[in-house]
Structures are given as structure tokens and as C-alpha cells.
Symmetry: C2
């Protein structure tokens, strides 16, 4: 723990001094101490658990700062961004591998791996710079929810294809259930929590009852959303949104402490998965180099189109914010490997792509959001006029 | 995680309503969901890690509230309490098993298992009730450090005996090194931190630099103290003491959040280890029933004698506060089992003893500290007069 946390913070400091985003330093810390370079730490169940808890708390905290009503107002745009931001990267990934002459199933898996945004990275950058209230940030968070549902469905489809049987009814039911769950919580979550929490609070005698309640609700929502067919972090985000008014600032601070401790593990864990597999052969390396810009521009294009009615500035920010890939990518690659649809070198390519595009996002976001701090209403203005 | 945290908080609430300490509810939650009853959760590397982090943060937070100078003032008493609080229980445990006709090595291991206090339980009770500034509390914390060093040395001796070779020089060196490390940090830790931290702080640009520094220092001290031959939690306690002045209240709050989240896992994990092994045979059960009062009264007697010059009230409180057994007990039992010195039923007896005496401590402490809140200076008065 000391190694991971210490190195992450050290590199973050170095990067901040070079006027680069600290988050990039924390991911590179994972690459540095990981198996590909120093070999001090290997990804294990322990580091993965801390990382999962880290990103859960991160999205819980982001949720605490988000107004569900505002998010729902932007629901149309978020859905468009989510749908296009899944389809375009899917087609790009599938297309490249298909044209390269790879088997159909492998190309479909690579396409799927390109779909899901790892919203944790963007959320961390936006939260650290106090940009969560911007229109673009809200669109990104809303789109990440849509994106996650679609990507999970897509993974369901391609892995059923690989296993040779597709149950369409089950897929339709899952998607309806997942979407219904999210809408239900987003709509009524806050109102019901605003009623329930104060009542419960007055009745409880245990120490720090509010914090305990918040944690039980957080873990409960994460577990429920996994049951409903959505990722646990989406549940954590919804839990945060539902609790945002019912919880006093002190609880925000307490959960902030947990987040600060665990987020470096989430970031370093991405770096830990980096390996040299993508450099095994020249052709593999070429394919990896081709996939990185495809992953970046397909999201900028797809998501940008989805958000185009909010003006070019917002659209660019949304597109850039949706670039990072993370956990989901690794999951798709792992499922493909287990089903023997993806060979190890393609697995290496996917992980290389995920780490590389994720590393490139914070600097790009920094540029895209530059200059808005002096005129804090500019972006919203465009939105209202456009 | 939901199961453990939720059940722990639920039972804590129930116990608070029955005017019983919530901490007992949280330990019983572990027994309830653990393998011996419902079987929902088994002790795993994951639960153990969370538990270790929990008790580390607990002692870090306790350290933050403790004044090292005050602790050193009570150093003489703390040493006496530590020495007698290790010797008397060791003799009691060894004596009972020896008289029962058990082999010599097994009796020595059982004696060793009875020595180390699990100060986390007492610290949690005292911190929750705001009693950390009492004389008795300070003696307990100081004695726990001495106790820990002695118990680790004793485990070193008995396991070398079991392996058939004792390296006295190494044991002497370890004890000098461990004691030196603790004294050094307790004496100069705070002063040097008061100088170093503000300087570092001004130079760092990373977000939440103070919290990051505190965490790096905490993990670093825990790792160092393990190297020095002391338990990691003692290092965490020393780290907290060294940082107590240099850190602003906000950092206390942030680390408090982590503590609140993780401590239920520490408590429930004790309960998780409970098993029915002690009830296997009638003679095993009798021996277990005999060992529980021996574990309790040997600590009350030994530690009480050590603190006798502070008056009977303080001595009783110190004796009661030193009763809990935990992690160390399980470690001794495990080492003995691995060396084939302890049979499985004796392993069951030791774990049964640890869980039972730990469960009995919070209510006893509640009684011992009752009535002092209206006259907050009573105890210190006795000390000054005595």
C-alpha cells in the first residue's frame, strides 16, 4: 500500500510541477511499479478491490455534487451522446480489425472494448478543477450512464454470439430493467431520501449514524445496480445523487477522506495492467498504434455529434471527456480471452489502447476547459442562445 | 461489504437501544454472518485486509488525540502495567494447561496467547465516549505499546523453543531495537513533524497535499515498525501522535471518515473467526470455560498491580481496559498450529477465549468509567494527590 500510494502521490507532485495533470502521474506510477517496469507490485485481488472501492467512492462523491433535475433536463442530449458514443467507436474498432483481416468474432470483441467510457478519470479531473456544474460535465455524466448500459448490453450480445446462442428476449428485458432502474432512482431517489433520511436519523442511536446510513445506502445501491444489469459505479453515482441534499457537509467531508485515500489506487491500478504485449510483433504494434487514434477520434466524433446542438465548445468538451477507457475494456478483453475469441496479442493491444487514451485525456481536457474560469458563464450562455 | 457493514451497524443500533455498547453488537455481527452461524461470509484475505486497515486507522486517530509528552510522563506506570500485564496472564495460561496435564510446549503457547492486549477495542470505547484524556486511558495506551513489544518477543522465544533453537543475541537485539524505535519516535516525532510538515506543505502543489502526506507517513511508519519488530498498529499510533499538532482539524475529519468506514470491518472480523471448535468435547469446553476467567482476572490483577500507585479506581480501569485479546491471539494460535505444537481443539479454545473476553470488555469498561463524566477531574485529582 505504501509503495502504490507513495509513488502515485510523488509522481502526481512531479507532474503538477511540470504543469501537467497529477492524475497522469498517478496512472504512470502504476506503470512504473507494475510488472512491466520495476515489478514491485503485481495486480492482485487486493489492489483490484481497493481500485474498485476507489472508483465507487469517486462516483459517489461526484453524485453528491450533482443535481438530478439538471441532469434529467439534459437527458435527451446525454442519450444521443451515449448512443452515438457507443456506435461510432464500435464500428471503428470492428472496422479496423475486420479490414486487417481478423476473424469476425475477434473484430466484434475489439469493437465492444472500444465502447464504454471510464467516466472515473474525467470525473476526477472535473471534480478536482471544480468544473462539475458545467453543462458539458453534466452531459458527460448523464451520457456515461447511458453508455454504460449500452456497452454492457453489447458485451452480452457479443459473448452470446461467441457461445453460439443469443437470447434476444433476455437482452431486451435486461435493457428495459436497467434503464427503468436508473430512471426510477434518478427521478424519485432524492425526494424519497430527503424524506426518509431525517426520520431515520432522529431514531438512530448509533454513533455517526448519518455516515453509517450513507455507507449502507451506497453499498446497497451498488449491489442493486449490479443485480439490475448496470455497473456498480453507476449505482454509487445514483446513490450520491439521491443523498446530495439529505446529507450535511460533514458527511461530504468524511466520505471525501475515503475517496482521497482510495482514488490513487484506482488510478495506479490502471497503470498496473499495462504490459508489453502490444510490442510483441511489428504487426501487433502497428495495429495498436492504429487503434489508439481510432479510439480517440471515434469518441470525439460520436459524442461530439450527439452534443452538437449545445455548440462546438460544449461538443468538443463532451467528446474529449468521453475518451478514457478503463475497467470495462479490461473486462471485455478478459471475457474474450476466456472464450478463446481473442488471442493474447490482441488482449495486449486492447490494454495498451485503454491505458494510452486514458493517459492522453487529462491534458486534452485541460486545454478544452482552459480559459473558462475567468468567464464562468460563457458555456452556459452558448447553451441558452443556441 | 454490504453484508458486513450493514449487519454490524444494525446490531450496533440494536445494542445501543438495549443500552449496551454498540461495539459488542458489531463483533456479534461477525459471529452472526460468519461460518459458525449463517455462513454468509467467511474470513478471507479481503476481510482481513480491511480489518487490518481498520485497526490501523483507529490507532492513528487515537494517536492524533494523544499528547506524547503526557504519555511519557506516565511511562513508568505504563511499563510496570505492561510487564506485569504480560507476565501474570502468561503464568496463568501456562499454569492451567500445565496442571491439566498438557504438553509443556502447548502450555507455553497458550500462555503466550494470553499475553497481548488488543488495544483497538478499548481505544474504540474510550474514543467514542471522549475519555482518551483520562489518566487511565493514557496508561492503557502506553502500556499497550510495552505489552505489544513484550508479547512479540515472547512469541519469538516460544516459537524458537518449538523449532528447537533459541538465538538469545537476536532476541536481545530485537527488543533493544524495538524499544529504541518507539522511544525515538515518541520523543522526537512530534517536534520534527511540527518542523517538517509546514515546510513540505508549502512546497507541494498536489491536491490535498496534507492528507497525502499524512497517509504516506502513516503507511511508512506502519511498515517501519514492522521492520523494527513492533506491530504495524503501534507504528500507526506513533504516526498519529507525531502528527497530532502539525495537522489541521480538516485532516482529522478526513481520516475520521476512513476510520468510520473501516472499523466495523475490524470488529466484525473478530467475530468472523469465532468457531464451534471449543465445544467439540466436554473436556475442551471445560478448559475453555476455565481459560476465560483466567484471561480476564490475570490482566486485572497484573495490570492493576502495575497501576496501583494511581489509586484503586485508576488501577481497576487500567486492568479492565487491558482485557481484550484479538489479532495477536489468533496469530499465536496460528503459529502454534502450523508448528504442530497446538492441536485444533486448543486452537478453538484460544479463539473462543479471545472473542469472549473481548465481548465482555465494553460493558465492564462502561461500568468502570460510569459517573466520571459529571466530575471530570476526579481521576486526575487522585493521581496528583496520590
Amino acid at each position: 500500500m505504501l509503495i502504490i500510494f507513495g509513488t502515485a502521490k510523488l509522481l502526481a507532485e512531479l507532474f503538477e510541477r511540470m504543469k501537467q495533470p497529477g492524475i497522469v502521474g498517478e496512472i504512470l506510477a502504476g506503470v512504473l511499479v507494475g510488472p512491466s517496469l520495476l515489478g514491485w507490485v503485481s495486480p492482485s485481488e487486493f489492489t483490484t478491490t481497493l481500485a474498485e472501492l476507489g472508483v465507487m467512492f469517486l462516483l459517489f462523491r461526484v453524485g453528491l455534487e450533482i443535481d438530478a433535475a439538471e441532469l434529467i433536463k439534459l437527458g435527451g442530449t446525454a442519450t444521443a451522446v451515449g448512443v452515438l458514443g457507443v456506435s461510432v467507436p464500435f464500428l471503428a474498432g470492428w472496422g479496423i480489425f475486420h479490414l486487417w483481416g481478423k476473424p469476425q468474432l475477434e473484430s466484434l470483441f475489439v469493437g465492444t472494448a472500444l465502447t464504454a467510457t471510464s467516466v472515473g478519470i474525467t470525473a476526477q479531473v472535473l471534480a478536482a478543477k471544480g468544473l462539475l456544474q458545467r453543462t458539458a460535465s453534466r452531459i458527460i455524466l448523464g451520457a456515461a450512464v447511458v453508455d454504460d448500459i449500452l456497452a454492457l448490453l453489447l458485451l452480452g450480445v457479443v459473448s452470446s454470439l461467441a457461445e453460439g446462442h443469443v437470447n434476444s428476449l433476455e437482452l431486451v428485458l435486461t435493457s428495459i430493467f436497467a434503464a427503468g432502474f436508473v430512471l426510477l432512482v434518478a427521478h424519485w431517489g432524492r425526494k424519497s431520501m430527503n424524506r426518509v433520511i431525517p426520520q431515520l436519523q432522529n431514531r438512530l442511536r448509533v454513533g455517526e449514524a448519518q455516515f453509517a446510513l450513507a455507507m449502507v445506502f451506497l453499498f446497497g445501491m451498488a449491489a442493486l445496480s449490479v443485480k439490475a444489469g448496470v455497473a456498480g459505479i453507476i449505482g454509487a453515482f445514483l446513490a450520491g445523487m439521491a443523498l446530495s441534499e439529505a446529507m450535511p457537509p460533514r458527511i461530504h467531508d468524511l466520505s471525501h477522506g475515503v475517496t482521497e485515500l482510495l482514488v490513487p489506487f484506482f488510478l495506479a491500478n490502471i497503470g498496473l495492467h499495462f504490459n508489453g504485449g502490444a510490442f510483441a510483433h511489428q504487426s501487433t504494434f502497428l495495429l495498436a498504434l492504429l487503434l489508439v487514434p481510432a479510439a480517440i477520434f471515434s469518441k470525439i466524433l460520436g459524442c461530439g455529434l450527439g452534443a452538437s446542438r449545445h455548440g462546438r465548445v460544449v461538443a468538443t468538451r463532451v467528446g474529449l471527456g468521453m475518451i478514457p477507457r478503463g475497467e470495462f475494456c479490461m473486462v471485455v478483453a478478459q471475457v474474450g480471452l476466456d472464450l478463446k475469441v481473442i488471442p493474447p496479442d490482441t488482449f495486449g493491444i486492447i490494454v495498451f489502447m485503454a491505458v494510452t487514451v486514458t493517459l492522453m485525456t487529462p491534458p486534452l481536457l485541460k486545454i478544452a476547459f482552459k480559459g473558462i474560469l475567468p468567464q464562468p458563464e460563457e458555456e452556459t450562455e452558448i447553451f441558452r442562445l443556441g
